[in-house]
C-alpha cells in the first residue's frame, strides 16, 4: 500500500522526535510516488547532514520501498527558527 503524507508525518514524530514536519506529495498526479519532507527535530543536534538523512531514511524504510523519489530537508529547532526568520 502506498504511504500517505499523514503516515509519514506520524512516523517521523513518533520515531525521531520531530517537532515540526511538512510533507508534500510531489508526484504529478498526487499518486504518492514522490514526496518532499521538511523535518525539524532536536535529535538532529550536532549530527552531520548525512547522519540526519540516514535517520529519516531508516525511520521511513518501509514506506520508501514504494516511493519513487524522496526529497528531504533536516533541521534542528534552532535552524528552523532561523529558516522561518528569513
Amino acid at each position: 500500500m502506498a504511504a500517505t503524507a499523514d503516515q509519514i508525518r506520524d512516523k517521523l514524530v513518533a520515531e525521531i522526535g520531530a517537532v515540526h514536519v511538512e510533507v508534500e506529495d510531489t508526484s504529478s498526479n498526487r499518486c504518492a510516488a514522490s514526496f518532499k519532507v521538511l523535518v525539524v527535530s532536536p535529535q538532529f543536534e550536532g549530527k552531520p547532514l548525512l547522519q540526519r538523512h540516514r535517520m529519516v531514511n531508516n525511520c521511513l524504510a518501509a514506506e520508501l520501498k514504494d516511493i519513487h523519489a524522496f526529497e528531504q530537508k533536516t533541521l534542528t529547532p534552532e535552524q528552523w527558527e532561523k529558516h522561518k526568520a528569513q
Partner: protein, 160 residues
C-alpha cells in the same frame, strides 16, 4: 559568491522536480562532456568497494552526464559542472539493474543519484545541493585536491 550560489540554485530547483523513470531507447549522443568517463555495465556488489575508489569523484545516476534521465541526477551533474568538476566517473544505473540495487545496498541509501568522494559515500542530490549552498562542497573538493571553479569565478568578480 553568494549571489552566484543563489542564481544557480534557482535554475537547479526549477529542473529538479521532473523525474523520468524510463530509458527512452538506448541512444546516448556522443557529445557534450567527452571528458567525463563513461563506464557502463558494471555488476556485482562485491566490485562496488573498488569501483567507488577508482576515481576521486564517482557518481551513480540515471542516464549520463550528457543526457541525465532524471531531474535529481541532472541536478548533481549541474552542481559538479558549476564547480568545474568534469573528470569524474559516472555509472548509469538504468543500464544495469543489478548495479541499481547493488549500489543502494552497498551505501545503505534508498535513492539514486549517489555521490562518492575518495571512495566515501557523500550523499544524494539533497545533500550535494545543501553542501553547495553552504560552501562545504568547495572545502570537500579541496580535500580531494580539486579546486572549485566557483573560487575562480569569485576572484574574477573581485578583480572587476
Amino acid at each position: 559568491m553568494n549571489t552566484l550560489f543563489r542564481s544557480t540554485l534557482q535554475c537547479l530547483q526549477a529542473g529538479a522536480v521532473v523525474c523520468r523513470p524510463k530509458v527512452i531507447g538506448g541512444y546516448v549522443p556522443f557529445a557534450a562532456s567527452a571528458r567525463v568517463r563513461q563506464l557502463c555495465a558494471v555488476s556485482g556488489e562485491k566490485n562496488l568497494a573498488e569501483i567507488v575508489k577508482k576515481n576521486k569523484v564517482v557518481v551513480f545516476m540515471k542516464g549520463t552526464p550528457a543526457q541525465p534521465m532524471c531531474g535529481f541526477s541532472n541536478a548533481v551533474v549541474q552542481i559538479l559542472r558549476m564547480h568545474g568538476v568534469d573528470n569524474y566517473a559516472s555509472y548509469n544505473v538504468l543500464e544495469d539493474q543489478e548495479l541499481r540495487q547493488g549500489v543502494k545496498a552497498f551505501s545503505n541509501w534508498p535513492t539514486i543519484p549517489q555521490v562518492f568522494f575518495n571512495g566515501e559515500f557523500v550523499g544524494g542530490c539533497d545533500i550535494l545541493l545543501q553542501m553547495h549552498q553552504n560552501g562545504d562542497l568547495v572545502e570537500e573538493l579541496q580535500k580531494l585536491g580539486i579546486r572549485s571553479a566557483l573560487l575562480d569565478a569569485e576572484m574574477d568578480e573581485k578583480s572587476k
